[in-house]
C-alpha cells in the first residue's frame, strides 16, 4: 500500500521531469554547438559537453555575423526589438481607441465597424502575402520599419479583449464622469486607461511575442541586410549558396533570438497567462 502510494506520488514528477527534459534537450544541444568550432560539429557526433569557444562564437555572431550575411546579431536584435515593440504598442494603441468607440459610443456604423474588425480574426497573413506585398510596395514601405509593423497590427484579438474588458466596467463610472462634466477623452485617459492596466500588460506580452516571432512577412519585405530580423538572419545563414553552413554561429544567433521573448514571458508570466486565457473567454 505504502509502495503503491509512493509510486503514485512519484509518477507526476516523473512525467513532468521527462517532459521538461524533452523540451530542454534540443536547446541544450544548440547551446553546446554554439560553444564549439565548426569542425567539432562537422565531425559528427558532436560531444554533448560545452566547448571552449563560447565567447568567441557569441562575439562573432553579435559583432560580425556569419560570413557574408552582412548583418550582425546586434543589428538584427535591434530590428527584431523595433518590430516586436512596434507591433505590440501599435496594436494596443489602435485597438484601445477602437474598442473605446465601440463600447462607449452609439454611432451609425458601429455594428459595421465591429464586424469588419472581427472578420480579420479569420485570415492569417500567410495566405494573402502576395497582394499584401504589392500594397506595401506601392506605399514604398519595403525595407522600412513601417512596412514590417503596419500590416501586422491588423488582427482583431486586441480589440476583442479590450471590448470585453470595457463592457465589464460598471457603467456608473462613466456616468459619474459625465455628470462631472469631463469630456469623453478625459474619461478615457484619466479613468479608463488606468483601470485597463492589467489587460494592457497581458496584451503586451502576447503581442510582443507574436511580433518577435514573425517570419514569413519579414522574409518577403526585408531585402536590405540592415532590416533583417534575427529569424531572417538565421534563415539566410542556413541558405548560403555553394558554401558550408556555419552551425556554431547559427546556433549562437538562435539562442540570442530565443532570449528576449523568454525573458518577457518569465517576468510577466502571471499577467500573460490570465491575459491569454481571457482573450478567448
Amino acid at each position: 500500500m505504502v509502495e503503491r502510494s509512493l509510486a503514485k506520488r512519484a509518477a507526476p514528477h516523473l512525467f513532468l521531469i521527462l517532459a521538461i527534459a524533452v523540451i530542454l534537450i534540443p536547446v541544450w544541444v544548440a547551446f553546446v554547438a554554439s560553444t564549439r568550432t565548426l569542425s567539432d560539429i562537422l565531425a559528427a557526433p558532436m560531444s554533448l559537453l560545452p566547448g571552449t569557444h563560447l565567447v568567441e562564437n557569441y562575439v562573432r555572431a553579435l559583432v560580425h555575423g556569419s560570413d557574408n550575411l552582412g548583418a550582425s546579431a546586434l543589428t538584427m536584435l535591434q530590428n527584431s526589438l523595433i518590430m516586436a515593440l512596434g507591433i505590440a504598442v501599435g496594436k494596443i494603441a489602435v485597438s484601445l481607441l477602437a474598442a473605446f468607440a465601440i463600447v462607449y459610443f452609439d454611432f451609425r456604423l458601429r455594428k459595421f465597424c465591429f464586424w469588419t474588425i472581427i472578420v480579420t480574426l479569420m485570415l492569417p497573413v500567410e495566405i494573402r502575402i502576395m497582394p499584401t506585398y504589392k500594397v506595401v510596395a506601392d506605399l514604398h514601405m519595403l525595407d522600412s520599419y513601417w512596412g514590417l509593423i503596419l500590416p501586422m497590427i491588423v488582427s482583431a484579438t486586441a480589440v476583442f479583449l479590450f471590448r470585453q474588458f470595457f463592457m465589464s466596467v460598471p457603467r456608473e463610472i462613466a456616468e459619474a464622469s459625465q455628470i462631472d462634466g469631463s469630456s469623453p477623452m478625459t474619461f478615457f485617459r484619466r479613468i479608463l486607461l488606468p483601470m485597463t492596466r492589467t489587460p494592457i500588460a497581458a496584451m503586451f506580452v502576447i503581442q510582443f511575442i507574436y511580433g518577435w516571432n514573425q517570419y514569413l512577412w519579414p522574409l518577403l519585405i526585408t531585402t536590405k541586410q540592415s532590416y533583417y530580423t534575427l529569424l531572417i538572419g538565421i534563415n539566410r545563414m542556413l541558405a548560403v549558396a555553394d558554401a558550408q553552413v556555419e552551425w556554431q554561429i547559427v546556433m549562437a544567433t538562435t539562442l540570442i533570438a530565443m532570449i528576449p521573448p523568454i525573458l518577457v514571458v518569465l517576468f510577466m508570466q502571471r499577467q500573460f497567462v490570465t491575459g491569454m486565457t481571457d482573450t478567448e473567454k
Binding site: A137, A241, Q244
Partner: protein
C-alpha cells in the same frame, strides 16, 4: 535680392556637382560565404577606383530568392540596377523585354567597347540571342565536375592520380570505397543540372526539342530517353546498396563530401574555393564520367552559375555607372582574381590566358579541368545550353520525382516520364504567356 538668389542657386549647383554624393548602384546577388567575400572585395575595388559611382552589393540568399526578390522589386517599381540571375532564369529574363536593358545595347549607348568574341564561346553563347547579341553579362560561370577524396582513394587501394573516367568505373570505385569503410561511395549536388542537363549534353543528347529551347517557345522535353533511364536506374540501384547517398536538394550534399563521409561527389566547379577552405583532406577534381559505349561521348559540358542582368527604371547616371562597373568586371585581372579565389571560370579568353601565364593551373589543375571540359568539343545544339521557361520549377519537379524514385514511391521509368510530362505542362503555360506579350 534676385541676384543674390541666383548667385546662391549657382553656388549650390556648383557645390552640388563638386561635392556630389556618388551615384548609388544596387547590385543584388546570391553569393554567400567565401564567394560573397570575393564579390564584395571586387565591389570595394571598383568603388575605390573611382568616385562617381558607388556599387552596393546586397546578398539576397539563394539564387531563387535573389531572382524573386529582384522581380518583386521590379513589380513594386524599385528594382536594383543589377540583378544576378542563375542560368535557368535566362529564358524568363529574356522574355521580359520591358523589364531589362540588354547588356549589348547598354554598352553601345554608353560608348563602351564590348565584343562577344572576347568571351569564352560556351559561356557567351548561353546568354546571347541567336543573332549573337549578349543580353546579360556572364559573371560567375561554372560547370559540373567530379570531386574525389584522394586520401580515401589511397585508403581503398585506388590510385588517386587516376580518377575514374567512365560511369562504370565510378560505380566500381564507389563500391570499393564503401567496402573500405566509408558511409557511402558517391553523392551529388544539383540533381537536375548535373545528372540530367549536363549528363545529356555530355553525351550529346537533346534535353528538349528546338535546340534545347534556343529556337522558340513551342518546345518539348525529351530527356526521358534510354540512356538517361539507364543512368538513373544505375544510381537508384546503388542507392539501394547504400553506395549512392542522397544528400538533399541544391548543394546540400556538400557536407557529405567535406566531412569525409562520402569520397566521390558531383558539384559545381564554383564550389572549388569553398571545398578548399573546408576540406581537411587532399581532394582532386576530374571531368564528368561518361558511358563509353555511347557514340560521340564525351561532347562538352554546359555552364551553370549566373549572369548579371541590367534592369529597367534606373536613372541615366546609374546606367552610366552600371556600364562602368560591367566594364570593370570584365578586366582580365579582376576576372582572374575572381576565378582564382572562387573557382568560377574566367569568362573572357584574356583572363584565361592571364591565369595560365601566371602558372596558377600548375598548383590548381582542378580549375583547368573545368575549362577543358567546357571546351572539350565545339558545342552542338544539344550542348550549347538549356533555355526553357519555368526552368527553376522544372528543376524542382526533377528533384521531387527523383526523391520519390529513391524513396521507392515510383519506378525510375515512371519518375522520369513524370518529370517530362509535368515539365511539358509548364512549357505550354510559358508559351501561352510569352506569346501574349
Amino acid at each position: 535680392m534676385k541676384r543674390l538668389v541666383i548667385a546662391l542657386a549657382a553656388f549650390a549647383l556648383l557645390c552640388g556637382t563638386a561635392f556630389a554624393e556618388p551615384v548609388t548602384i544596387e547590385f543584388w546577388h546570391a553569393m554567400g560565404g567565401k564567394n560573397g567575400d570575393v564579390t564584395q572585395a571586387i565591389i570595394d575595388k571598383f568603388n575605390a577606383s573611382q568616385g562617381d559611382y558607388k556599387v552596393v552589393g546586397v546578398f539576397k540568399g539563394s539564387y531563387a530568392d535573389t531572382m524573386n526578390a529582384g522581380i518583386a522589386a521590379f513589380r513594386a517599381g524599385q528594382p536594383p540596377a543589377i540583378l544576378q540571375v542563375y542560368e535557368v532564369g535566362t529564358a524568363t529574363m529574356m522574355a521580359a523585354k520591358g523589364a531589362i536593358v540588354p547588356v549589348y545595347k547598354l554598352m553601345k549607348e554608353e560608348g563602351r567597347s564590348f565584343d562577344p568574341h572576347e568571351f569564352i564561346p560556351a559561356i557567351s553563347g548561353y546568354y546571347s540571342t541567336s543573332a549573337g547579341q549578349m543580353l546579360s553579362m556572364p559573371f560567375n560561370s561554372s560547370t559540373a565536375v567530379m570531386y574525389y577524396n584522394k586520401d580515401a582513394f589511397r585508403k581503398a587501394g585506388l590510385d588517386p592520380a587516376k580518377p575514374p573516367t567512365t560511369w562504370p568505373e565510378v560505380f566500381a570505385d564507389a563500391r570499393k570505397l564503401k567496402a573500405a569503410g566509408y558511409a557511402g561511395g558517391l553523392t551529388s549536388n544539383w540533381f537536375g543540372w548535373i545528372q540530367l542537363e549536363n549528363f545529356s549534353a555530355w553525351h550529346n543528347l537533346p534535353f528538349g526539342t528546338k535546340s534545347n529551347g534556343f529556337d522558340g517557345f513551342d518546345t518539348r522535353l525529351v530527356f526521358n530517353g534510354p540512356l538517361q533511364l539507364r543512368h538513373l536506374t544505375n544510381l537508384y540501384n546503388l542507392s539501394k546498396e547504400g553506395v549512392f547517398i542522397y544528400g538533399g536538394r541544391d548543394n546540400a550534399a556538400n557536407t557529405l563530401f567535406t566531412s569525409g563521409q562520402v569520397p566521390i561527389h558531383f558539384e559545381s566547379i564554383g564550389g572549388y574555393g569553398a571545398m578548399k577552405s573546408t576540406c581537411t583532406f587532399d581532394f582532386g577534381v576530374a571531368m564528368l564520367p561518361y558511358y563509353p559505349d555511347v557514340k560521340g561521348a564525351p561532347q562538352n559540358s554546359i555552364i551553370g552559375g549566373a549572369s548579371l542582368w541590367v534592369l529597367a527604371k534606373q536613372s541615366p547616371a546609374q546606367y552610366k555607372g552600371v556600364a562602368a562597373f560591367l566594364t570593370f568586371l570584365s578586366k582580365p585581372d579582376i576576372q582572374s582574381y575572381f576565378h582564382e579565389q572562387t573557382g568560377y571560370l574566367p569568362v573572357t579568353l584574356a583572363a584565361y590566358k592571364l591565369t595560365k601565364e601566371q602558372g596558377y593551373y600548375k598548383d590548381n589543375p582542378g580549375l583547368e579541368v573545368a575549362i577543358r571540359q567546357l571546351n572539350y568539343k565545339t558545342p552542338t545544339p544539344n550542348s550549347r545550353g538549356i533555355r526553357f521557361g519555368y526552368m527553376p520549377q522544372i528543376r524542382t519537379i526533377c528533384d521531387e520525382q527523383w526523391e520519390s524514385i529513391l524513396g521507392g514511391k515510383e519506378t525510375v521509368k515512371q519518375g522520369l516520364d513524370n518529370m517530362v510530362r509535368l515539365g511539358d505542362e509548364l512549357l505550354r503555360k510559358f508559351e501561352k504567356i510569352a506569346e501574349a506579350e
